[in-house]
Every structure is written in structure tokens, then in C-alpha cells.
């Protein structure tokens, strides 16, 4: 099986190139297994990976033009020859390793933590199962970055548009009945860029390895803004 991977090492290379490798496939092989096999053949090849089971979010790559998490992408789902590139739109550090600083900055910018102004109870803050259900499809995000780096609006305005991953987390806290900072959160999302650059292209939904729907979450934030008279 032939795999073509993007190679660039700033220490030695003037410019990036594609390099082909021959990898022996096996039953149940994931794209990460194939990349590990390449690494065995050529230790200079660099990519991030860790848990191997789709929860740590380290090994997001672009395979055959679509962002995916390598460890949960069976090679049988990819047509050959498989072409693996780094996430689009991010500065490349080396090979498949990209600089995700800006992505994390947008995440931090939405204040992704529970804000509680009331005094805390001695035991847990009560929450009904129905209210807790509102967090399903939101809290499971693994911050892999597949969505934001597949978003054309994020490609155009990476400094100003928060992108789908950060906005999904913005909604995760707006949707949490325990959170008491709704007004401040909505205030912070006002303006033409941070939230409103989403044009419902839905690439984010298409690529999310956890089956989450940032576009829907962004829609719900907009609805809430209307409801609150913003």
C-alpha cells in the first residue's frame, strides 16, 4: 500500500515536498498505525500522537483532503494512494506537526470554565438529568482542531473569528444551568467577527471525529442572543 506524506524539516529543507512510502496493511489498521510504520522506516518523520483511541486529540491530520483523527480512521475508508498532509491553514512546524497556538488562544478567549457567583453549597450543585442532557454533544470535544482548521471562515479570519471548536465550548457553558455568566458571555461574543463569521458551511460537522455539531451550537448561541435582546 502506498502512502504519500507531506515532509518539511526547517533544519534541513528549503521547501516542503511529498514523500512516498510503502506500508504493509493489516486487518483493522488505522491511519495512525500506517504513520507509525512510516516512522519505523524513517525516524526523521514527525507527527503528534498519543492515546491511540480517539480521546486525547493529538493526531489530527488531513488525509485525502479531509481532516481526521488518524487513530480512529481505518485505512480501508481511504482511497489509495493515501495522501496525508498537515491541517490546512496552520503554520507548519515540521512534517505533519502544525502550530496550534492560535486555535488554543481562541479557546481560552471564550472563558471556557464554569462561573458561579452564588455561594457554593456544601454538597453538589443540583442539576436535573434533563438539564445535564443539554451538555451532551458539547463537553465531549477533545480539542483536536479538525473542525476549526477545516473552516473556510477560520482560514480567512484566524485572528478574529473564534472558530467552531471554541464556539462549541462557548455554548457548552451557556447551556450549563449551573453557569451564572450568561450576559457576560454573550456580550463578549458580540461584533461582526467572533461569532458571526460562521456562514453555516458545516465543514466542522463533516469532519468532527466525535460526531459533534458546532454549527448547531453556534445557531443556538445566536438564538439566545436574539432572545436576550442583543
Amino acid at each position: 500500500m502506498k502512502i504519500s506524506v507531506y515532509r518539511y524539516n526547517p533544519d534541513t529543507d528549503q521547501k516542503p515536498r511529498m514523500q512516498d512510502y510503502e506500508v504493509r496493511p493489516f486487518q483493522g489498521m488505522m491511519l495512525r498505525d500506517a504513520l507509525l510504520e512510516i516512522k519505523k522506516q524513517d525516524e526523521s518523520f514527525a507527527f503528534r500522537h498519543s492515546c491511540g483511541e480517539g480521546v486525547c486529540g493529538s493526531d489530527g491530520v488531513n488525509a485525502n483532503g479531509k481532516n481526521c483523527l488518524a487513530c480512529v480512521t481505518p485505512i480501508t475508508e481511504l482511497s489509495q494512494p493515501i495522501v496525508v498532509r498537515p491541517f490546512p491553514g496552520r503554520p507548519v512546524i515540521r512534517d505533519l506537526v502544525v502550530d496550534m497556538t492560535q486555535f488554543y488562544e481562541h479557546y481560552r478567549a471564550v472563558k471556557p470554565y464554569l462561573v458561579r457567583t452564588d455561594p457554593l453549597p456544601e454538597q453538589e450543585i443540583l442539576q436535573s438529568p434533563e438539564d445535564r442532557d443539554k451538555l451532551d454533544g458539547l463537553y465531549e470535544c477533545i480539542l483536536c482542531g479538525c473542525c476549526s482548521t477545516a473552516c473556510p471562515s477560520f482560514w480567512w479570519n484566524p485572528e478574529k473569528f473564534h472558530g467552531p471548536a471554541a464556539l462549541l465550548q462557548a455554548w457548552r457553558f451557556l447551556a450549563d444551568t449551573r453557569d451564572q455568566a450568561t450576559e457576560e458571555r454573550l456580550d463578549a461574543l458580540e461584533g461582526p467577527y467572533k461569532l458571526f463569521r460562521c456562514h453555516t458551511i458545516m465543514n466542522c460537522v463533516d469532519v468532527c471525529p466525535k460526531g459533534l455539531n458546532p454549527t448547531a451550537a453556534i445557531g443556538l448561541i445566536k438564538d439566545l442572543m436574539l432572545e436576550k435582546g442583543f
Binding site: T12, K39, S50, C56, R94, Y113
Partner: protein, 587 residues
């Protein structure tokens, strides 16, 4: 050569649950704290914990911390220190409430309280009926907790060094730990981080085995740094094999599956756990279930073409329960085992999972070493918490749901103790250049050119050797053979070479640095296991099938220097209650 340096009050190495909970205490108290992590914090392996965290909240069934304590002491096969266990089980309750207040999206009961499920080894009333003590966020509890802790650290403005690899601890002229030399992975440049207190929170070392539930990053870095600093590792022979890893692959299938009512069957469809643990059955302690599975397979009752696994059946729970309580398991099983548990059983076999042992600490996370005969002293300014540490609350076998608890309780307490320590020791000690050179040597050693065994090849051989010789069942013969081979590999390591000497994001170099850690920690497991001539908890020897409290109710201490062993007594006296004397352990 001049190495740039940064100064902090406290340095935390590792950004999993223990490191982040410690950092949160420190940052919230306005202590200048740096967290160094070789991966972005939410990639730490706490993220993969599934089932939940134990605390006697009594939300579902009657419960109290004292029953939790009894179960933990019994689960430890009476090797756990009862003062630390009492402390952990008491602290569990406020710790879980604190997490909930911080935002963890726990699953909920109809009355709005935190959902709790049954897990192995849990009982009401000191060995009575099954308890339900494990607080869960579906089957993604570790993910929910790790992300929440990272988020709260954003709020608290903790200083993060993401994708920095810790090379080694550094000392001052008096030998006091005064920070660490780290490597910025992106640039390949070293950085000295000087600190008044240093916390090792580097997590597990499952990568010493070939088949493991542990991530690629779990290479025992903190344990190896401690060993190189002359500190012994405690109880390393006690390594937990989780009963239910996906067969042939090792990914974890939570004990929560059995807690929700799933059970194990052999190829004949027999619920074989009834034979091994008539009362607790599938919810017996992990060591018991893992041995039962291996025995079934050895005796020819394994399922599948090669008869080399067992089946975990949960289709009878119904799609609704599975999707609500075990959605992550359904996803993993479909992806990696090709089996949708709503319709068919999951093929499982034990997988290397958790180190009960580690860097010896007291219950405040302070590293302790023996002095003279019988007494021990605190290593000033050095702390350890989480899986890399040994408090010792798990003894010879850890109960499910107690590892998230351990990292949270002792991470938090270490953080609080460091606050006091840096107030009492306000001046930074200056790093001894010789100590810095030594740490740099670990890095520059890989600049050597020439032919030698490739580091990745050595890593693969080492892991295979550990798996074959230090697994679920261990005999003198197998372990002696294994030890000899491991020593050979340790010798070969001296000639190991890299072909890639570039600087920027050189992952081959990081893996080579990790290999040195794997070898040191792997040897500590093999040597400690070879010396312990009894069966206790996870350490199971067919040639010494019984527990021997007369000779072996003591903690092992392994020193890297000459593979030396030492021992220290178990602390059987709790803080406020009566001691639980050793009894035969049946489930």
C-alpha cells in the same frame, strides 16, 4: 554554553489530573507556578479514564468513607498504608464536590445529585452487599475531569510550558532539588526552570509493556528521574493488568460495563466468574478477574479462532442504557473490535494498565526516603503525586475508581503543602553547574553519530521482553530469564544511536530519551518482582501461591544503583479508627 533560565516558586512536571489539581491550588493562592508538560495538557492520559471516581456520597445506596476504607485496604491485599487510605477515603467526599463546583459535567440522578455506579471490590458495611460508589460522567469521567481542571487553570492564570520535555531534576551544591532542565520540543533548545519546590506528576509507565491501555506518552519519566536522583521506587512489582482490554489491541473497556450489569463468558457461554468469585462474580477485584480470564484461556476455554480471548457481554442491558451510560465504550468497541455491543459481545483480554507502586511519598505528597534503620525523612522541596507516586493507598492491587481519586486528593494536598513550603523557604537555591551538566548529558548523548542499535528497535524488544517475563503469572524461572535479557538490553542501550540529529520537533529524539526512562522503570518492576517470594494482589507467583504476611507484609524499595532492594514496614495504623488486620481475601 549558556542555558536560558526561568524562575518560579513551584515547578510541576506533568499536566494530568494530579499536576493540574496541584497547580490550581497554587495559582489560586497566588504562588508563581509553572506546569511543564510534554503534550498539550488535555492530551494527558487522565483524559482516557472512563468509569469514574470513588467517593462515599451515598447518592444511590447507603455508604460511608469507613466502608470505602475497608474495601481499599482489602483490595490492596493489606499492603496499603492505612493512614493514607483513611485520609484518601475521607477526603474523597469534599474532593468530588469541589470538582463538581469547578464544572465537571457529572451524570445525574433524578433528584439532581451526582450519578454513582457499582464498581469492582466495593461493598456496604465492611464486606456486605455491593455498593455504588463510583461518581461518573457517562464513561468519559477522566476526560470531563481533565478538561475541567485545565479550564480552571486558565481562569487561575497558571503558567504553562506546553510541549516541553523534562530531561532531569537539577540540584544545588548541597544536593537539594532546585528545579529541572527541560527541552522545548518545538525548537529543540534546553531551558532551565529553577523552582523552590518541584512536583513530579508524570503519570504511568504502561509503555514498558507491549500490550497496554496506556498512551504512547506513558513512559514513567518522573519515576526514572527520581531513580536517577538516587530515590528508590516503592512496590514496583505490583503492576495492574486490567481484565478487560480489547483483545489483541489493549484499549481499555471500563469496569463500568460490569458495574452496569455486563458480564464475562467463555467460549461455552459460561459465566465463569461464578466459579472464581462466587459472591462478587464479575465485580471481584481486578487482580482476581484478570487471573481468572488468563486461566480460562490457558485451560482451553477461550473464545475466537485461536481461543485467546474472553467475551464481555452487555447486549442484555439494552441500547438505551448503553447509549446513556456507556457511549464511549460502544464507540471504541465498534471502531477497534468491529463489534457493536448492543448486538454482540466484546472480545477482551487483560491489558497492562496501572502501576500501584511509584515514588514513595507521605500523605502530603512529600517524597520520603529511608534513613538509618526503620525511620524515613522528607526530601526537602521534592513532591510526587498521581500514578508516578506511591502514598501508598493501593498496596498490591488498586480498586477501580480509586486512581482518579488518588490523583485528585494527593495532587490537591501536594499543592497545599507546597504553598506552605515556599512560604517557609522563600529563597531560590542556585543550581550546581555539575548537576546541570549531568542533565545536559542526557540530551547531548543522542548527538553521537556512528552505528549502534536503533533506539526504536531497542524499545520494541524491551517492551516485548517485559510482557513475556513480568505479566499476570510470574515464576522464578521466567523472571530470572527475563531479568538477564533486560540487563542485556540495558547494556545495548549504551550503544543506541539516532540517525536524525535535527533539532526542530525531533520526535525520534524524544522517544530515545523516553527509552532511557522505560529501561530504568522496567528494570525496577522486574527486579522487585523477582525478589518478592509470595503471591499478593497483582503479583501472582505459581511457585509461591500464597500470601506470606510473616515475611512479606512489607513495602519493596528498588534502587537503580546495582539494582539493590530494600524494604520498609506497612503502616497498619490508621489516623483515627481501628486498624483492619490482614484476613484471607475472598470475593
Amino acid at each position: 554554553m549558556s542555558i536560558p533560565s526561568r524562575h518560579f516558586d513551584a515547578l510541576i512536571i506533568g499536566a494530568g489530573g494530579a499536576g493540574l489539581n496541584a497547580a490550581l491550588q497554587l495559582a489560586s493562592a497566588d504562588v508563581r507556578v509553572a506546569v511543564v508538560s510534554k503534550v498539550f495538557p488535555t492530551r494527558s492520559h487522565t483524559v482516557a479514564a472512563q468509569g469514574g471516581v470513588n467517593a462515599a456520597l451515598a447518592n444511590v445506596l447507603p455508604d460511608n468513607w469507613h466502608w470505602h476504607m475497608f474495601d481499599t485496604v482489602k483490595g490492596s491485599d493489606y499492603l496499603g498504608d492505612q493512614d493514607a487510605i483513611e485520609f484518601m477515603c475521607r477526603e474523597a467526599i469534599p474532593t468530588v464536590y469541589e470538582l463538581e463546583h469547578a464544572g465537571v459535567p457529572f451524570s445525574r440522578l433524578d433528584n439532581g445529585k451526582i450519578y454513582q455506579r457499582a464498581f469492582g471490590g466495593q461493598s456496604q458495611d465492611f464486606g456486605g452487599d455491593q455498593a455504588a460508589r463510583t461518581c461518573a460522567a457517562a464513561d468519559r469521567t477522566g476526560h470531563a475531569i481533565l478538561h475541567t481542571l485545565y479550564q480552571q487553570n486558565i481562569r487561575a492564570r497558571t503558567h504553562f510550558f506546553d510541549e516541553f520535555f523534562a530531561l532531569d531534576l537539577v540540584r544545588d551544591k548541597d544536593g537539594i532539588i532546585s528545579g529541572a532542565l527541560v527541552l522545548e520540543i518545538e525548537t529543540g533548545e534546553p531551558l532551565l526552570i529553577e523552582a523552590k519546590a518541584t512536583l513530579l506528576a508524570t503519570g504511568g509507565c504502561g509503555q514498558v509493556f507491549r500490550t497496554t491501555s496506556n498512551a504512547h506518552i506513558n513512559t514513567g519519566d518522573g519515576c526514572a528521574m527520581a531513580l536517577r536522583a538516587g530515590i528508590p521506587l516503592m512496590d514496583m512489582e505490583f503492576y495492574q493488568f486490567h481484565p478487560t482490554g480489547i483483545a489483541g489491541k489493549g484499549m481499555l473497556i471500563t469496569e463500568g460495563v460490569r458495574g452496569e450489569g455486563g458480564f464475562l463468558v467463555n467460549k461455552d457461554g459460561e459465566r465463569f466468574m461464578e466459579r472464581y468469585a462466587p459472591r462478587a462474580k464479575d465485580l471481584a477485584s481486578r487482580d482476581v478477574v484478570a487471573r481468572s480470564i488468563v486461566t480460562e484461556v490457558k485451560e482451553g476455554r477461550g473464545a475466537g479462532e485461536n481461543g485467546d480471548y474472553i467475551l464481555l457481554k452487555l447486549d442484555h442491558l439494552g441500547a438505551e442504557v448503553i447509549d446513556k451510560r456507556l457511549p464511549g465504550i460502544r464507540e471504541s468497541s465498534r471502531i477497534f473490535a468491529g463489534a457493536d455491543p448492543i448486538r454482540e459481545p466484546i472480545p477482551v483480554f487483560p491489558t497492562a494498565h496501572y502501576a500501584m507502586g511509584g515514588i514513595p511519598t507521605d500523605r502530603f505528597g512529600r517524597v520520603v526516603v529511608p534513613v538509618g534503620s526503620g525511620s524515613e525523612q522528607v526530601v526537602a522541596g521534592l513532591y510526587a503525586a498521581g500514578e508516578c507516586a506511591c502514598a501508598s493507598v493501593h498496596g498490591a492491587n488498586r480498586l477501580g475508581g480509586n486512581s482518579l481519586l488518588d490523583i485528585l486528593v494527593f495532587g490537591r494536598l501536594a499543592g497545599k503543602d507546597i504553598i506552605d513550603f515556599v512560604r517557609e523557604n522563600p529563597y531560590q537555591r542556585s543550581v550546581d553547574p555539575a548537576s546541570l551538566d549531568e542533565a545536559m548529558g542526557r540530551l547531548t548523548r543522542w548527538d553521537q553519530k556512528g552505528s549502534g542499535v536503533p533506539a526504536h528497535q531497542l524499545r520494541a524488544e524491551f517492551r516485548k521482553c517485559m510482557e513475556d517475563h513480568a505479566g499476570v503469572f510470574r515464576t522464578e524461572e521466567i523472571m530470572t530469564e527475563g531479568y538477564q535479557r533486560l540487563c542485556e538490553l540495558r547494556e545495548q542501550f549504551k550503544d543506541a544511536r539516532l540517525t536524525d540529529h535535527s533539532k526542530v520537533f525531533n520526535t525520534a529524539r524524544i522517544e530515545a530519551l523516553e527509552l532511557q526512562n522505560l529501561i530504568d522503570v522496567g528494570l525496577s518492576i522486574a527486579v522487585s518482582a523477582l525478589h518478592r517470594k509470595e503471591s499478593r494482589g497483582a503479583h501472582s507467583r505459581p511457585d509461591y501461591p500464597n500470601r506470606d504476611d510473616v515475611h512479606w507484609m512489607k513495602h519493596s524499595l528498588y534502587y537503580r544503583e546495582a539494582d539493590r532492594m530494600d524494604y520498609k514496614p506497612v503502616r497498619t495504623k490508621p489516623l483515627t479508627v481501628e486498624s483492619f488486620p490482614p484476613k484471607e481475601r475472598v470475593y
